[in-house]
């Protein structure tokens, strides 16, 4: 196992929110056994441990505040395939990336994988159907373990639900090194109380008394529901209760999709098209995103310097991205889509469609260039202003409050005189508002505005963190949701699993 002291600018002390932490040491276990003994060692010496996977997190979850960083990067193997009912699941080590899992399964490159259930690999290979892992947290280089810790979701959540829905078994190492495998469907709470014998370990504890909001996309705090499944305690727990060292995730049957970008004259017409399309039974979109005119302006600027990025139309416009299943009914879907685009003032002949890997890949890069260029911009300012970090919202509200929230974003940020772009998953009423900071004064204003926006999202019955989690950056916002009592209950649950409070210290709660 590699162990070293990180440099001040080490990649192990920062994640994609660009907050820089500090650590005394970094260890990189080669296998599960080394991981377990390293955690045990930290437990005995009461050394705080921060778990790092691919560090694409956006809320500082993997950013250490002293102590040791344990990087899971070498636990990156797909272990095997299992059969379940009519489909399959895959057993993975925690640091397998979403991209690797998707490509390996789609291409059926499964040489050397084990049968998790008898004959599964052979039957998977012979199956005429194609399968894939459908959760797509936009950042394809994030890890499955990180996704489980954050209960990640993404544009495909609109059709497939968040990570939680696809995890059927996990192996968790507690802070003292004890390890359990938890299978979905085996252990349930009675109300909020758990009393279960798992792998020879007796677990008995109470979940927080609040009811976790599942009416909206939500990654804010620990999941807590009456009669919940034990596995769900750990999914979305951001590594504060234990380290996930193995997981079984379900695969979905793959079908071809066609991606579309409808360019609309302005933000209002794009939002109105989204409303028309969202529940349309003929179009049945599988993915629905909004890009305001500011985002499209940004892409135009990116394509000036990077010709591999598709160039949007020259006239000012907004855009709606949607995927549809490519099947026999595709012509009817388009008839309907054209009607709705035209009704809202758009022109299908100036909009894009593509179904092959090349076209879809380029459309993906087109939309990804918005968050990517903002990350790069913030990173470039960081040298001059180390205190700067990215300020993007990740809030969701119920459907009937979506317009109100959208207007509130603009009103609030305009009143602070901040520059911003709005884009993202409007299928789930969850756009990202990226505030484009120019200096530290902007950062101060953005923090103030952010708190106002988060409170509004909570007041409207939504979540201040729909998909990125709480980490160290958004602790104040879960106080808005659960109050002091809720936070105290999370703390006492953490103390039950992690009595020395060494795991991911500072994440979710102080």
């Amino acid at each position: 196992m590699q162990r070293f002291t990180p440099d001040p600018d080490s990649p192990y002390t920062i994640d994609e929110c660009k907050i820089r932490g500090r650590a005394d040491s970094v260890s990189v276990p080669d296998d599960e056994e080394e991981l377990r003994s390293e955690i045990e060692r930290c437990f005995s010496s009461k050394t705080p441990v921060t778990i790092n996977a691919m560090r694409t997190g956006l809320c500082g979850g993997g950013v250490p505040d002293g102590g040791e960083v344990i990087s899971l990067e070498r636990l990156d193997r797909i272990i095997g395939i299992g059969r379940k009912e009519d489909g399959y699941f895959v057993r993975v080590q925690p640091c397998v990336t979403v991209r690797t899992l998707r490509d390996t399964m789609l291409m059926k490159h499964i040489d050397g994988l084990k049968d998790v259930t008898e004959g599964a690999c052979d039957s998977f290979l012979k199956d005429q159907r194609k399968f894939f892992y459908p959760v797509d947290p936009t950042e394809m280089d994030s890890s499955i373990g990180g996704n489980i810790a954050a209960n990640s979701s993404g544009p495909r959540t609109f059709k497939y639900g968040p990570t939680r829905d696809w995890v059927i078994s996990i192996k968790v190492i507690f802070s003292d090194g004890r390890t359990v495998r938890i299978d979905r469907g085996k252990h349930f709470a009675s109300g909020k109380h758990f009393s279960a014998d798992v792998d020879g370990i007796h677990l008995e504890f109470d979940m927080p008394s609040y009811d976790f909001n599942t009416n909206v996309k939500n990654a804010g705090g620990l999941y807590s529901k009456d009669d919940m499944d034990l596995i769900d305690v750990f999914i979305g727990s951001e590594g504060i209760l234990g380290v996930i060292c193995e997981a079984d995730v379900l695969l979905a049957e793959w079908h071809p999709l066609i991606s579309n970008i409808a360019f609309m004259p302005d933000d209002t017409s794009a939002l109105s098209l989204i409303k028309d399309v969202r529940h349309d039974p003929i179009i049945a979109p599988e993915f629905l995103e909004y890009f305001d005119s500011g985002s499209i302006d940004l892409i135009r600027r990116v394509s000036d310097s990077d010709p591999t990025i598709l160039r949007p139309p020259e006239e000012r416009c907004s855009a709606v991205f949607l995927d549809m299943a490519l099947d026999d009914t595709i012509a009817d879907r388009y008839d309907r889509l054209f009607d709705l685009i035209r009704k809202n003032g758009g022109d299908p002949s100036k909009s894009w469609a593509g179904h092959d890997q090349d076209d879809r890949g380029r459309m993906f890069e087109f939309r990804h260039s918005v968050p990517k260029s903002i990350f790069e911009y913030v990173a470039s300012l960081k040298e001059e202003m180390p205190a700067l970090n990215k300020m993007g919202t990740d809030m969701s509200v119920p459907e009937d409050k979506s317009d109100e929230m959208m207007a509130f974003y603009r009103e609030t940020l305009d009143s602070f005189g901040l520059e911003y772009v709005i884009f993202g998953h409007l299928g789930n009423f969850h756009p990202h508002v990226e505030i484009i900071l120019k200096d530290l004064e902007d950062l101060r204003k953005a923090r103030e505005a952010y708190a106002i926006l988060a409170q509004k999202a909570v007041d409207l019955g939504g979540s201040p963190s729909a998909e990125h989690g709480i980490g160290k950056l958004k602790r104040d916002y879960i106080r808005m949701m659960y109050g002091e009592k809720g936070i105290e209950e999370i703390r006492s649950l953490k103390r039950y699993f992690d009595p020395e409070m060494i795991l991911n210290r500072g994440d979710m709660i102080e």
Partner: protein
Amino acid sequence: MSDLRIAVMVKQVPDPNLVEISEDGRLMRENVPSMIDPFGKMALQHAITNKCQHHVDAISMGPMQAQDVLRKSLEFGADDAYLISGREFAGADTIATARTMAAFLSMRDYDLVFCGMQATDGDTAQVPSELAVFLGFNIYSYATSIDLENMTVTQSYERADVVSKLSLPAVITFMRPPHGCVQIPSMTDYVSALKKEIKVVGFADLGIRMCDTGAKGSRTKVKSVSTIIPKKKSTEFIDGADTVSAASAIMKEVKG
């Protein structure tokens, strides 16, 4: 010029980023996703960008799977698509390929034939010139842009761009995509492509002899392929304004 008939020759090639070369120099195409040959795609983009009221056909010669690149061409806005396919055409070298395609093109009265400057699998760049010879068309190679309103074509001659008046009928080979061209099919073109059929043209439709096409009509056979590492050469440019003194300068150089 109005109502020109334009043929665009597109070839299906294995994705160059994924294809490997076997020890005996063969391209290992098996299981490698294929794509529209990049230069052929540029030719198509020039045709579509300049389309207006002209008629654009996409044409490919290859196995039935090559329908994919024709479907793609239709999605990009081609009006019709033809696949020249059949066992008889297998193993055709450049001359047999050009002769076969010329037989088809000459039946359809085209004003312009757009090609990529070369296909990225064979890389010979021979087929377009051979097509021009068989069809009796003019040829404009290495074009970078074309203006069908003013009937001019711009060709890149390494150190200079040459703009010529276009004299029809002609074969044009393109080496660059048009400026600001569409990179993704429009929704409307995509949908009209759904309704179109790709017409398959066989040996019997062409009125050619067996000895003109396929392996039998080929004059060359690939024995092996190897990568040549070019020797460093220095090039001296001689001013050609005065041809006589330029010629004597060359003679002096050659004689030493």
